[in-house]
């Protein structure tokens, strides 16, 4: 697969007209900054310092990563410094096309410092391809520090082809701040995916909503572990829905801890095969079983 096509998949066809940094095979391939957003390489280690000025609105920042040769293992640290009163979108993600017999691995550690009253939408898509026997591994870690009345909305999608992934999200939420995470993961064959959330709601009226929708097929396995601590008057909702196909395994371990009498915390988890009545409804519209399954799964992961 050529690099352009891979980039297109992980950015969902989005073209960057603002600041961006495209990283390919461990090196900066292209970078653009503007008057609102500055991107610098880290002085120590591999990664980026991304500075967004106060009051920046309507900007979309792209930081995609591509690995198109085997035998690359990299750890990349990206630090987002987002000023006050911003309203921006960040498009990240990693695409690995590994045609070799060696492992390709990208471990990305993203730290978000979101300033007061700022709103950030972070979209991350992971995709693996290539006919080689080498593994495609991605381990994203996200550290979130939300300042007063700020909001971070994370939409993360593992499209397909990632052999192993361990996703960690650690969040510290203060007064009036809000974290919304929608995570969609699809695994097949013998792939493994783990998602761990450690969320501390420390501020008055802080909020968190974690939604995980996963599809595990074949012999693959997935683990969802969340630990949400309500340390103040706060609200949190954790939802994990999983569809299992064939012999796949999914474990959901949601933990909610109220350390304050006004903490309101909810968790819901459902795991199971595609519901028989859903299939039947689509069959009654003239779809065959395979088509019906595809419609249900693609809708579920949309």
């Amino acid at each position: 697969m050529n690099q352009e096509k891979l980039l297109d998949i992980i950015t969902d066809g989005q073209k960057f007209d603002g600041a961006y940094n495209i990283r390919i095979n461990g090196k900066v391939y292209d970078r653009k900054t503007n008057e609102f957003v500055n991107i610098e390489s880290m002085k120590q280690g591999s990664g980026l310092e991304i500075y967004v000025k106060d009051n920046t609105k309507g900007q979309t920042i792209g930081i995609p990563v591509l690995l198109t040769s085997g035998d690359i293992t990299e750890i990349v640290l990206n630090h987002f410094h987002i000023g006050k009163d911003c309203d921006i979108t960040i498009i990240a993600g990693c695409g690995i096309d590994n045609c070799s017999s060696c492992t390709s691995q990208h471990d990305g550690i993203h730290t978000f410092d979101v300033g007061e009253n700022s709103k950030v939408k972070y979209i991350e898509r992971h995709y693996g391809d290539g006919e080689g026997s080498g593994k495609r591994i991605m381990n994203p870690k996200t550290i979130v520090n939300l300042q007063k009345n700020s909001k971070l909305e994370m939409v993360t999608t593992q499209i397909q082809g990632v052999d192993e992934t361990k996703r960690e999200t650690i969040a510290n939420i203060v007064d009036g701040a809000n974290l919304v995470v929608t995570e969609k993961v699809q695994t097949s064959d013998n792939q493994k995916a783990t998602s761990i959330f450690d969320v501390s709601l420390n501020g008055v009226d802080s909020k968190a909503k974690l939604v995980s929708r996963v599809v595990a097929k074949d012999q693959s396995s997935q683990d969802f572990i969340s630990d949400v601590k309500g340390n103040n008057k706060c609200y949190a909702h954790v939802e994990c829905d999983a569809i299992i196909v064939n012999n796949a395994k999914v474990a959901s371990t949601p933990k909610i801890v109220a350390n304050h009498p006004d903490a309101s915390l909810v968790h819901e988890a459902t795991i199971g095969k595609i519901a028989g009545e859903q299939l039947m409804k689509l069959l009654s519209l003239g779809l065959d079983e395979k088509q019906a399954e595809e419609v249900i799964i693609s809708g579920f992961l949309r």
């Binding site: 859903q278 009654s284 519209l285 809708g299 992961l301 949309r302």
Partner: protein, 232 residues
């Protein structure tokens, strides 16, 4: 023309349907009867959701007894389920687009037929964010959208308020005139029974009465008409 010939259905030795013989014409047929009479079972057998223990189902003379649900849908049988199905992630638009064979028709038409405003509903998810009554009306819309020669509605009144239901009765009437097909309604609702051209009354898995509405309706007992959902 849809024909049921000596259709029987038994589960674990218990006879649910016994020698059912019905010829459905291109008109509205209401199948009614007390709870447990076998009405919903009969509807599911026509759609292929259940397989009869014995007997035959013929559509335009072709034996479709061993056809599966997909094959029957493609041949022109549509079904509105008694309990609407929820789909996380799928939108009303997606369901109606899948249902409608006429790809150039505005999907808003089907929602208008069930008294829902397309602007408010087309992009809504078919999940718990919609009420039971809204989901039910969308379920009915998805069956109407098929424009099939045979359309089965399993208790279309269940979960729908009386005001909305009056409008739906008109929709069913209009739909039958437009499609000129066979409408089969499983219902206890008096207004629906009055809409019928033919009434079939089931009792304990057998046809108790069958005939033109004017002949059957005056003699229908209250027991038959006042049941409330959840049939086999």
């Amino acid at each position: 023309m849809l024909q049921l010939v000596d259709v029987c259905y038994a589960v674990k030795g218990k006879q649910i349907l016994n020698n059912i013989n019905i010829t459905f014409k291109d008109e509205i047929t209401v199948i009614t009867g007390a709870n447990g009479a076998g009405k919903s079972t009969l509807a599911k057998i026509i759609m292929g959701i259940l397989k009869p223990t014995s007997g035959k189902i013929l559509l335009d003379g072709q034996d479709i007894t061993n056809f599966n649900i997909t094959e029957r849908a493609k041949m022109g049988i549509a079904f509105a389920f008694q309990q609407p199905v929820k789909f996380k992630g799928l939108k009303v638009f997606d369901l109606l687009r899948l249902a409608s064979p006429q790809k150039d028709i505005a999907l808003s038409v089907y929602l208008r037929d069930v008294a829902l405003c397309a602007k408010d509903y087309l992009m809504r998810e078919l999940s718990g964010e919609l009420s039971g009554g809204e989901l039910k009306r969308i379920e009915i819309a998805s069956a109407l959208a098929r424009h099939s020669k045979v359309t089965i509605f399993d208790e279309p009144e269940a979960g729908i308020d009386l005001w909305s239901f009056s409008n739906l009765v008109d929709t069913f009437k209009r739909f039958q005139q437009e499609v000129k097909g066979t409408l089969i309604m499983i219902s206890h609702q008096e207004k629906m029974i009055q809409l019928a051209d033919t009434i079939v009354v089931l009792d304990s898995g057998k046809i108790e009465k069958m005939g033109k509405t004017q002949d059957i309706l005056p003699n229908l007992s209250m027991k038959t008409c006042s049941g409330c959902g959840g049939d086999r």
